[in-house]
């Protein structure tokens, strides 16, 4: 296929809106924002049909469809449509003092975990087994799960990221004792840190049925539209997964939203290193792009009260959005953090409501053209000026928190609330805005890349640091190519070395991340 004519569709399925864009290379041919529907597929069909009609494109001209969605995150947080999970940990005699689901909120643990079993087995830090897998105990647990009607099973083992053999063997046993059960192996989804990886595995297992239904809905939607191109779903680090993969590992879509909006903003501005502020109705999410990808957070992330160690963009959320309440307290004007949120179109003054919001201030100050200007003419100019100053100060403060270097950096504004900012900001060299900034999420989904990751403990004393890193990078590259990346476009995104403290032997935990463009000629299977 001629790469010049390669058309991409990017879709963002949010809780409120389903956005779609049609892209040719970096150019936006058409875009639309439409409401999310109860059956997500219907909203997708409507949005994609809209952009294809707008650009007068036939379905067979589409080379790839990529979808970003917060559907699974929202389902877990709201505990909607979750499966009951059988939890199987391979690790005894180690880690017994920290059984599975330690530190989960009691109510969600009770709802998700139907049964828990710990069996013998596991690996040392260097991948040697410290106990043989107790296969009989695995089989007994599988039969018990089956009797109780538990269809989804999460399997975790100590140091499985270094050696997945025991999880795989246990998976075979469960499949043969409990045919038709769906399995999640922790080694496929998480990094080192048993509890956090196991938590992610249990979350993933709880989403099994929903994943099948949702991905099925995506497939049906594309079929209805006559699109035969492969489709992919974006994950938290801005790389793509095949639809088959997401059916197995829906948990990897968690937090793909901020990543897509930051990367979409970067594409619109033509920048790879910049700050991005996504200003919504209630909050502004500020993040940092490095080499076109978001800087990741190094702290553990709670999702619905459960601790995980996913790769998440490092985002600073501040309480400023288009719907932020503006109040006067003595000689001080306060903006946010309370907001009218999505009800801005009925509550804000310019929309005929009776609540003074940040959007009203931007209109009164004369730099935003939204709603009925006459409804804010009565506002005191001094108060308006103070509120404008406060809105800019809030963003400046957030920017300063996220910056890692002293100099000024460019800022990309995305999201519906970006109209709130129109003055120069301290610490910012230039502000980039774009008419398509409202659909940055969908644009981000359309340009997502294919990644490969490796996380293992190596010994520098044995082979030396350079050789160890080179070997690890090439293993990560192989994983990316296997996942559909074009080998020539691969870039090493991150090399992280964590020395194993206290111990001699030069043992280091190496985390490598690579990413590349999708190998267009091969397409990939969906």
């Amino acid at each position: 296929m001629d790469k010049q004519e390669f058309l991409r569709i990017g879709v963002d399925v949010g809780g409120t809106n389903t956005d779609a864009v049609l892209m040719r290379e970096g150019e936006v041919l058409a875009s639309v924002k439409s409401p999310t529907t109860a059956q997500v597929g219907d909203g997708i069909v409507a949005a994609i049909a809209h952009v294809m009609t707008q650009a007068d494109i036939s379905p067979d001209a589409i080379g790839i469809v990529s979808i970003g969605t917060t559907h699974f995150t929202n389902a877990f947080v709201e505990r909607r449509g979750l499966d009951r999970v059988g939890v199987l940990r391979i690790g005894l005699p180690a880690a017994k003092a920290l059984p599975p689901l330690t530190d989960w909120p009691d109510d969600i643990a009770a709802e998700v975990a139907a049964d828990i079993e710990m069996v013998r087995g596991g690996f040392q830090f260097d991948g040697r087994p410290y106990a043989d897998l107790d296969e009989a105990a695995v089989a007994a647990a599988a039969r018990r799960f089956r009797k109780q009607g538990i269809k989804s099973v999460a399997i975790s083992a100590v140091f499985a990221p270094l050696n997945g053999a025991m999880e795989e063997r246990a998976g075979e046993i469960v499949s043969s004792e409990h045919p038709g059960s769906s399995l999640t192996l922790s080694c496929d989804i998480g990094r080192i840190g048993l509890l956090e990886r196991e938590n992610a595995g249990i979350m993933n297992a709880s989403l099994a049925t929903l994943a099948t239904e949702t991905v099925g809905g995506f497939r049906t939607a594309l079929k209805k539209l006559g699109i035969t191109a492969p489709f992919y779903i974006s994950q938290n680090d801005g790389t793509l997964m095949s639809a088959d993969f997401v059916e197995k590992y829906p948990v990897l879509t968690f937090a793909s939203g901020p990543t897509n909006s930051m990367r979409g903003g970067a594409r619109l501005a033509g920048l790879k290193d910049a700050l991005v502020a996504d200003i919504g109705g209630t909050t502004t999410d500020i993040g940092v792009l490095r080499g076109g990808f978001p800087r990741e957070s190094s702290i553990m992330t709670d999702i619905g009260g459960v601790r995980t160690n996913f790769r998440m963009p490092d985002v600073c959320a501040i309480g400023l959005g288009g719907g932020s309440l503006v109040s006067v307290d003595g000689d001080r004007v306060k903006v946010g953090p309370k907001s009218v949120g999505y009800r801005i179109t009925e509550k804000a003054l310019v929309f005929g409501g009776d609540v003074l919001t940040a959007t009203d201030i931007a209109v009164a100050a004369g730099y935003a053209d939204i709603g009925d200007h006459d409804r804010v003419r009565h506002l005191d100019p001094a108060m308006v000026e103070a509120a404008v100053t406060e809105m800019h100060r809030l963003v400046e403060d957030g920017i300063d928190r996220m910056k890692t270097t002293g100099g000024d950096a460019p800022l990309i504004l995305v999201g519906g609330g970006s109209v709130l900012i129109n003055r120069a900001l301290k610490g910012v060299s230039e502000i980039h805005t774009h008419e398509e900034a409202g659909v940055a999420n969908a644009i981000g989904a359309s340009i997502a890349r294919v990644g490969g990751e490796l996380d293992k403990v190596v010994s520098y004393d044995g082979e030396g640091r350079e050789a160890a890193i080179t070997a690890a990078v090439s293993e990560a590259n192989e994983r990316a190519v296997a996942a559909g990346a074009d080998a020539a476009s691969l870039e090493t995104m991150d090399i992280e070395e964590l020395p194993l403290a206290y111990m001699p032997g030069g043992s280091v935990r190496l985390r490598i991340k690579v990413a590349g463009d999708l190998a267009v000629a091969h397409g990939g299977a969906a």
């Binding site: 830090f125 910056k403 002293g406 194993l500």
Partner: protein
């Protein structure tokens, strides 16, 4: 093993210290602070302690004055790498086994337990051990902070032997070290720990109540709890750093604390040398005047220099905390862009004796500086 709950306990009018599920978070946060950047993940330690208290009840905490002179006390600690700890945790049986084996080795029951260090994971592990075994925990530790070696404890400085020193892995394999010095015990134990999978339980420093009184740092479990409470209460009142410094300044063991710098982390270097996580964290002042601080660490924070001038140095305590919340930040969690404050706290007197400085002088950590106490450095800056 026959363990006695009440042997060696004297009556006291002191306010009873109780560790429960409700205040474990305060305790773990205070212990993370006293861990001065090292000591391993306090989160896992807190979870284990929570589970143990739920199952076995809260351990009794004894003030040092409640301990009779002829009681037998031992320390329990985890030896290994924090990264391994977060995979393997502890089984619980290994903790029991280590204490029971030590008791068998010395031929008498252990009456009470104590932490070797009041920092990170090793401050909560003894809570787990005490709860499981139904033993009281003495309100003392070996250093009033965290250090990377079992030789760097007041017991060793005061001539108490670490041995017999028991190491137990998760299969309950046992190794008993009987070495001539604490340093050699440390070196041998480290090699064994690798074979044991880089995480094992240890028990040692069996001593009498009289020795505990003479050769440990007192009231440090309660100090950790007070520090954690101060940070939490201070957050509510809007100034956790002020509350934190107040509690340390008025504490009989520490008595002096000061914020030596605040700013944003602008550079971070880490490397591995001889099995330690060694590095430097550079912090730039908020006011933009170009003032810089450098904190050098080797597992724990060792020295803070402001524009090249030493502001505090080991064995005094140097802690990097979140500038707004006062949350102590372990060295492995430091990252670019964090807004932090550097707090320096005077070390307990027992770490500043000539015998102690032979083990914890800046030169013992490869730093080419003399040790000048923080009180003196702060006085010189004011003069």
């Amino acid at each position: 093993m026959s363990v006695q709950n009440t042997a060696g306990v004297k009556a006291s009018a002191r306010r009873e210290l109780v560790l429960s599920e409700d205040n474990l978070e305060d305790f773990a946060r205070g212990a993370a602070f006293l861990g001065t950047g090292g000591g391993g993940d306090p989160y896992l330690g807190r979870l284990m302690a929570k589970n143990a208290i739920r199952e076995f009840g809260s351990p009794r905490i004894l003030g040092v004055d409640e301990l009779s002179d002829d009681a037998t006390v031992a320390f329990v600690a985890m030896i290994g790498a924090p990264t391994v700890l977060c995979e393997k945790g502890a089984s619980g049986d290994d903790i029991d086994c280590a204490v029971q084996e030590l008791s068998a080795q010395i031929g008498r029951p252990i009456d009470a337990l104590m932490p070797g260090e009041i920092g990170g994971f090793n401050s909560t592990l003894p809570v787990v051990a005490a709860a499981r075994l139904g033993l009281p925990l003495v309100d003392v530790d070996g250093m009033g902070r965290a250090f990377p070696s079992i030789a760097m404890v007041v017991m060793n400085f005061e001539g108490i032997s670490a041995c017999p020193f028991v190491l137990v892995d998760d299969h309950l394999n046992k190794v008993v070290v009987k070495a001539d010095t604490a340093q050699r015990t440390e070196d041998i134990s480290r090699s064994i720990a690798i074979q044991m999978g880089m995480s094992c339980l240890s028990a040692g420093y069996a001593m009498s109540g009289a020795e505990v009184k003479r050769a440990t740092v007192h009231n440090t479990l309660s100090a950790a709890l007070q520090i954690g409470e101060a940070i939490r209460e201070g957050r509510k009142a809007g100034d956790p750093l002020k509350a934190l410094i107040h509690v340390l300044e008025t504490h009989p063991i520490y008595g002096f604390a000061q914020e030596v710098f605040s700013g944003k982390i602008t550079d971070l270097r880490r490397e591995t040398t001889k099995g330690f996580s060694i590095g430097n964290c550079r912090i730039e002042a908020f006011d933009g005047a170009g003032c810089m601080a450098d904190v050098q660490f080797q597992n724990e924070n060792l020295v803070v220099l402001v524009d090249g001038v030493v502001k505090a140095i080991v064995p005094d305590l140097i802690i990097i905390v979140d500038a707004e919340t006062g949350e102590p930040i372990p060295t492995e969690a430091l990252r670019y862009g964090q807004r932090v404050s550097v707090i320096a706290v005077a070390a307990p007197d027992a770490l500043k004796t000539p015998q102690a400085l032979a083990h914890v002088h800046p030169r013992c950590f490869g730093l080419d500086f003399e040790f000048t106490p923080i009180e003196v450095l702060a006085g010189a800056a004011r003069a």
